[in-house]
């Protein structure tokens, strides 16, 4: 643990110096959104101060500069997830918009009445509702593969749900509510055996592990910038080129066309076909800066450090009487979801907040997961690379104190 430069990293995140209710901030709500390093903040300030203009438009110097930086960010993302081409990297607002894009374009073209879309019981609402909307429009059926009490996908049942009617498998790479990392290679292999495309919701996984879309052989991979130490309002849809080529555009407008007459329009090539209108230029550049920052530290080093943090937190949590961890598979990312006997998560959240500790209390946009574990909500501490064992000690002491006060 000592080799990981956590103090150096912490110094890069100005918000970690904030005092909350006169106490040092202990930020453990990273699964909801991560904080931003100075390098990312600077990249946005630099963009607006020195290199901002609209992209893909003008012949003037600033526009060329902005375009280079914006397209440079796309290249960084392509390398970061090892996509074959920058044509496969579509900028969107976030993982949610990416899934909606796939539902409304790939889905509407390829999924008909009676067809099936297969998800799991641990999905975030963003990987449930777009498919329900598509099903309502097309008459397709949403199938849900169950999980067990450890929060693991029951793989046999998942496999049994794959049928000739299945037209898409859409599963979360890492669960935001439980921390479970799904056996995505097995999932993809099972789907590929029947030529079914697979979408992975990587919103939660991407800040915690190295992702190689070619090695995974997934057809779509979606994630949000704001959980990857980058600004909110920018995210990525990765899609295999052949699939993206065959899909109709999502929105119409400028930049996504090659030629427009009042009779018809010819669409632009990838990736621009899916990027109608002026994009979120500065935040895409910010996402590029976040990727530079992470690449320097190394995703494997981050994964290793966070695994140690999670092990430490889990061990400490298990020593607290009346604490029950929700989601206790060994295949987990750095998320500790828990409930306390007779103390509602919302009370836990407010009490810890008074100690400067930020956690999430609620259903984590995964109400079906709460229903499955028969809890109204959970408290969730989610860790990032800038968290420390000392912060986990502060959290655990806070939990023990609030148990005492509740009596």
């Amino acid at each position: 643990m000592s080799t990981f430069p956590v103090e150096k990293i912490r110094a890069d995140f100005p918000i970690l110096q904030e005092k909350i209710r006169n106490k040092p901030l202990v930020y453990l709500d990273n699964a909801a959104s991560c904080q931003k390093p100075q390098q990312v903040i600077d990249s946005i300030v630099h963009c607006y101060s020195h290199e901002y203009a609209n992209v893909h438009r003008g012949v003037h110097t600033l526009s060329v500069r902005a375009t280079d930086r914006y397209e440079g960010a796309r290249e960084k993302i392509q390398q970061f997830i090892n996509a074959q081409s920058t044509k496969e990297i579509i900028f969107v607002r976030g993982a949610t918009e990416a899934i909606n894009l796939v539902a409304q374009t790939f889905g509407k073209t390829n999924i008909k009445s009676g067809d099936e879309i297969l998800i799991t019981a641990m999905e975030h609402h963003s990987n449930i509702v777009p498919w329900q909307m598509l099903c309502a429009e097309t008459g397709a059926v949403l199938k849900v593969a169950p999980i067990n009490l450890h929060g693991e996908l029951i793989f046999d049942e998942f496999e049994a749900l794959i049928s000739d009617k299945t037209k898409l498998v859409s599963v979360v790479h890492m669960s935001n509510a439980l921390g479970t990392v799904n056996p995505v290679k097995k999932i993809i292999a099972a789907a590929k055996a029947k030529n079914i495309p697979v979408l992975l919701d990587g919103a939660q996984a991407i800040p915690h592990m190295a992702v190689d879309v070619q090695a995974l052989d997934c057809d779509f991979y979606v994630f949000s910038g704001h959980k990857l130490y980058a600004p909110s309002g920018i995210g990525v849809l990765y899609g295999k080129q052949a699939l993206l080529e065959a899909m109709p555009p999502y929105q119409g407008g400028g930049d996504m066309i090659r030629k427009v007459t009042f009779e018809e329009s010819e669409y632009n090539s990838l990736p621009y076909k899916f990027e109608a209108g002026t994009p979120n230029i500065a935040d895409a550049i910010g996402l590029g800066a976040a990727i530079d920052y992470l690449s320097e530290i190394g995703m494997d080093n981050i994964a290793k450090y966070e695994a140690e943090l999670l092990d430490y937190a889990t061990e400490k949590a298990l020593q607290i009487e009346g604490l029950r961890i929700i989601g206790d598979t060994s295949e987990k990312g750095a998320i500790l979801s828990f409930v306390l006997d007779k103390i509602h998560p919302h009370d836990i959240g407010t009490m810890l907040d008074s100690l400067g500790i930020a956690i999430r209390a609620g259903h984590h946009c995964a109400m079906p997961v709460m229903d499955f574990f028969e809890v109204p909500a959970t408290a969730r501490a989610s860790f990032a690379m800038y968290n420390t064992k000392e912060e986990i000690d502060v959290l655990m002491a806070g939990i023990e104190d609030l148990i005492k006060i509740f009596g």
């Binding site: 919302h346 009490m351 259903h363 109204p376």
Partner: protein, 150 residues
């Protein structure tokens, strides 16, 4: 520890959370309405026994945080014997206490409910305290559909 929270979590609140009053299913209720706070998952069912426009009995079931449990527990105690108009008037005063302007607060007018005044400093928790009252409001208006604070 938790000194900053003393205004929010008074001992009365812990007491009602540990031992909620009127916590049972009223089989012969005249009104039954469900309340739900989707933000935190608080869920309660409110039962009322009416005699004309008078609330003769009140009870509840459900699960929620300490603030919402204490609020509904206190409410079911305090509304017994009130007319619909009196209960609505009390709701208005309670609402003013939790969300209104400082000058509109009249702690004496709300009696025991004053222990919940602390929530006004915690905007994220106001809905926990008011869920009970929104549910009562719906019950008095005889709205049988589940109501939500959202």
């Amino acid at each position: 520890m938790f000194d900053d929270l003393r205004d929010l979590y008074q001992e009365v609140i812990f007491d009602h959370n540990r031992n909620p009053r009127n916590f049972y299913v009223m089989e012969d209720a005249d009104r039954k309405v469900e309340g739900f706070n989707p933000l935190c998952g608080d869920r309660l069912t409110l039962f009322l026994k009416m005699d004309g426009d008078k609330i003769t009995d009140a009870s509840f079931q459900g699960s929620g945080c300490a603030i919402s449990t204490a609020s509904v527990s206190l409410m079911t105690d305090i509304v017994k014997g009130l007319t619909e108009a009196e209960a609505e008037a009390l709701f208005a005063k309670f609402h003013a206490m939790t969300t209104g302007k400082e000058e509109d607060i009249n702690l004496e007018a709300v009696g025991k409910l004053a222990v919940l005044a602390g929530v006004r400093e915690y905007p994220a928790r106001v809905k926990c305290a008011t869920l009970a009252w929104h549910t009562l409001d719906a019950a008095l208006k005889n709205e049988q559909e589940a109501i939500s604070t959202e």
